[in-house]
């Protein structure tokens, strides 16, 4: 095989294995959510066990021998089987296989990376990792951010099959290409891959996170990521023939941390859209994040590790794989744990710390001979960049296609002149549990179908994810708006990625006078919020609708009362026809419900439905904690709908304004 073909296969393989790994790590989010039902300690132990296990994978794969093409073939074949199995299975089997597949993926990725740096050089290998992460993002975007792994039809299996078959073909192509005298060479600081992937998954290559965090559309965020991948490639291209980076390492580290800080601590107010000029500036920041984090990887790996015997090298590789796994999960885990056991500081600092670790990992520029030099003398020439072209081109095309797919286009408002002033409004209230289902899995399609089939004109949603890894990284707000044809407004709750939403059908006009209310934190542990908007029936009669989610712990009654006090005292609550719908985490007979009723609100389910119907947990409801309250309105035909995939059941209500 010529160098070019061998290098092309190596580059593409590393990108594909990275893409599969990124998708599988995202898939562990909904699995850990299931573990959450057993408590925070069980989640933490499960997560740590899963992400230490890549070390065991590396030991079993390498078995004390140097990493060769054959090792890579075995690893990729196992990974392909495991990845396909996750998509086939459901129930408890899917839970365990997903965790095992994520551990396997990280172990195989480390093994493939070690060989790839030897063949391609550090900079090109770093570019391949970034390309792979962006490839996973591109595929996800094309699928509306609802990953293939959760789908059973052609939309799920075609991208899966293409990815796995391509990975196997590339692995097969490199199976016998290693020079015997260099197979023991290993780059240093491979562990930097861990925090890099953690930060990439959560922020840098997560368009849903970037869009919700910075007040941008998913289309703009995805376009900026495509630019970032191109910029990363350009910086790599520039550095290859010169054997030096464009900017000094210290300056790159500063740029990386500063860009991350701008994203993690955004200047846009919550719910505020960034203007055009600001969006351009933020696009540059996002692109810089992608590019500069790639160069940090390149510098980190651009030196050989200390030479060890094969057995010792195997142990070291196992340790490295476990370190990578922990580097991936610790930022995500600690960030998320904050919502159950509050940290002593804002959890955004956890992610910033991981960025600092990546930046520090990229600071060293070793004076020792480069690991790649001996094995691949031509890898440092401009021609060595050419193998990146196919994977880069496909990735950029997918990300841009994904940007186009996720444009939300809502039809113009349709109004029938001469409607009755007392014409009713159909409202659906539903806590979506960030899209995670009982299977466990993520089923945005089923949830969108329930909303569409309900015929609701306004949908009050809680726990809507916009890039949360616990919710598989999906942008539910954009997905649901696009698939239901409704307009969406959202209010951040725990963070800007965990939001309460109102979906509004064009038949009741634009959502007007949108108010986002941050509810008092009280005893915690999560920040809660409400979103309010005014919609109108065909005759123009206004309804002020609020989607609210109150603090969840049973003993939180004082906090919930304080939160209700704020909701009831807000200006919008003084409007003639007011509806407050949501997960109030309060059961019939509790002081919270008495408080709301004392303020003049009537429960829709109690006045026009079956009060005995419960809403949570959806598969076998035990309690009733979801409510539709109204004041200045009456209700008819209030139903608790069947299990729709979330852990709560939806409530559908017909709301009539009281017209004098």
């Amino acid at each position: 095989m010529t160098f070019s073909r061998k290098a092309t296969a190596t580059f593409t393989l590393l990108a594909l294995v990275t893409a599969v790994t990124v998708e599988l790590v995202r898939a562990t989010g909904p699995m850990f959510d299931r573990a959450f039902t057993a408590g925070i300690v069980v989640v933490a132990l499960t997560a740590l066990g899963t992400y230490v296990a890549p070390g065991l994978v590396a030991v079993l794969l390498v078995r004390g021998r140097p990493v060769t093409g054959r090792t890579v073939v075995q690893g990729v074949a196992l990974l392909a089987v495991a990845r396909a199995a996750v998509q086939v299975l459901d129930g408890v089997a899917r839970y365990w296989v997903t965790l095992a597949a994520a551990a396997l993926a990280i172990g195989v990725l480390v093994v493939v990376l070690v060989r790839s740096v030897r063949v391609l050089g550090a900079a090109t290998a770093a570019l391949a990792v970034t390309t792979g992460g962006a490839l996973a993002t591109g595929v996800s975007l094309v699928l509306g951010t609802w990953d293939a792994i959760w789908r059973s039809g052609a939309s799920g299996w075609v991208p899966t099959a293409l990815t796995l078959v391509a990975a196997m073909a590339c692995a097969w192509a490199v199976r016998s290409d290693d020079a015997a005298d260099t197979t023991g060479a290993r780059p240093a600081r491979v562990w930097v891959l861990g925090p890099y992937l953690g930060v990439a998954l959560m922020v840098v290559l997560n368009p849903a996170y970037l869009a919700s965090q910075l007040g941008l559309s998913l289309t703009v965020a995805a376009s900026a990521l495509a630019a970032g991948v191109v910029l990363a490639a350009a910086l790599t291209l520039w550095s290859l023939p010169r054997q030096s980076a464009l900017l000094p390492a210290v300056l790159r580290a500063v740029v990386l941390v500063a860009a991350a800080a701008l994203v993690l601590f955004p200047i846009t107010a919550e719910g505020e859209d960034a203007g055009t000029l600001l969006a351009v500036g933020l696009g540059v920041v996002m692109a810089l994040l992608v590019a500069v984090s790639t160069t940090s990887l390149a510098t980190a790996w651009d030196a050989p590790a200390k030479d060890r015997g094969p057995r010792s090298a195997g142990v070291t590789l196992a340790g490295t794989a476990s370190a990578v796994g922990l580097g991936v999960i610790l930022p995500l885990l600690v960030y998320q744990v904050d919502y159950d056991v509050p940290l002593g500081l804002p959890n955004a600092f956890v992610i910033l710390t991981a960025v600092v670790v990546v930046a520090l990992g990229g600071l060293r520029r070793s004076a020792q001979p480069r690991a790649a030099d001996a094995a691949a003398p031509r890898a440092e020439t401009r021609a060595a960049w050419l193998p990146a072209v196919p994977a880069l081109a496909v990735t950029a095309a997918l990300v841009l296609a994904g940007a186009a797919v996720n444009r939300v286009q809502v039809e113009e408002t349709v109004r029938v002149a001469g409607g009755q002033p007392d014409a009713p409004l159909t409202l659906l209230d539903w806590n979506l549990h960030y899209g995670v289902t009982q299977e466990p899995g993520l089923d945005l399609g089923r949830m969108a179908d329930v909303i569409t089939a309900s015929g609701a004109q306004v949908v009050a949603l809680q726990e809507v994810s916009r890039g949360w890894i616990m919710g598989g990284g999906a942008d539910m707000a954009t997905y649901l708006a696009r698939t239901t044809g409704m307009r969406v407004v959202a209010a951040p709750a725990a963070d800007r990625q965990f939001v309460n939403v109102l979906l509004v059908s064009p038949s009741v006009g634009e959502p007007q006078h949108v108010v986002r209310t941050r509810l008092p934190y009280g005893d915690g542990p999560q920040q809660r919020s409400a979103i309010t908007a005014t919609v109108r029936n065909a005759a123009g009669t206004p309804f002020v609708v609020t989607s609210a989610h109150l603090q969840h712990r049973e003993e939180n009654t004082p906090t919930r009362l304080q939160q209700l006090d704020v909701l009831m005292s807000a200006d919008v609550a003084s409007s003639p026809a007011v509806v407050i719908a949501g997960d109030l985490n309060s059961e019939p007979g509790w002081p919270e419900i008495a408080y709301v009723e004392a303020a003049g609100y009537v429960s829709g389910q109690d006045s026009a439905g079956d009060p005995a119907q419960r809403t949570f947990p959806a598969h076998a409801p035990e309690v009733r904690i979801d409510w539709v309250f109204g004041r200045g309105v009456t209700f008819s035909d209030v139903q608790v709908l069947p299990d729709g995939g979330s852990d709560h059941r939806p409530i559908l209500a017909t709301v009539h304004p009281v017209v004098d």
Partner: protein, 167 residues
Amino acid sequence: MWVTAPLDELLHLALRGEGLPPFVTSAELVGSLLRAEVDVRDLPGLMGAARLAARAVGTVHLDVALAGYRDGVAHLAVEAHARSVPAHRLAALFTGPLDAAVARTLTDRGLPPGLTTVGESGGVLTVAVRVQDALDAAPLPPFLRGAVVDDLTLADSQVAVALTLPA
């Protein structure tokens, strides 16, 4: 005697008609919660790094709940959000400077020193306000001097004060 008043009227009285300090851009009572916005860039006396940090922070959104009133002291629990960050969680790091800044602002307005104490308890920013001392130091008409504040509540977007007038 209970005296009930909207926040803006009470602030007008307490601040002797001078209005809110320029760095407090808004303050309203929503139910039992005081919501205020503070532009920390306008805080007086910020120099060097503190000024740079204030520029980065911008506007801070405050939610102030009355945790209780005992022995003439109102105990407030404060949530602060800046740029989406729950800034009150960093309170333990900044209670000293915050305490000094609040005290300086009050004394600049002619109020006696030591009326407030900024602290932190279990990750919550707390402020103790010596309401009785503030009243004792106020230039009250003779028939009100010696009035005792027995209780203080925030409810229905109003401030209610229970007063015992001097005999």
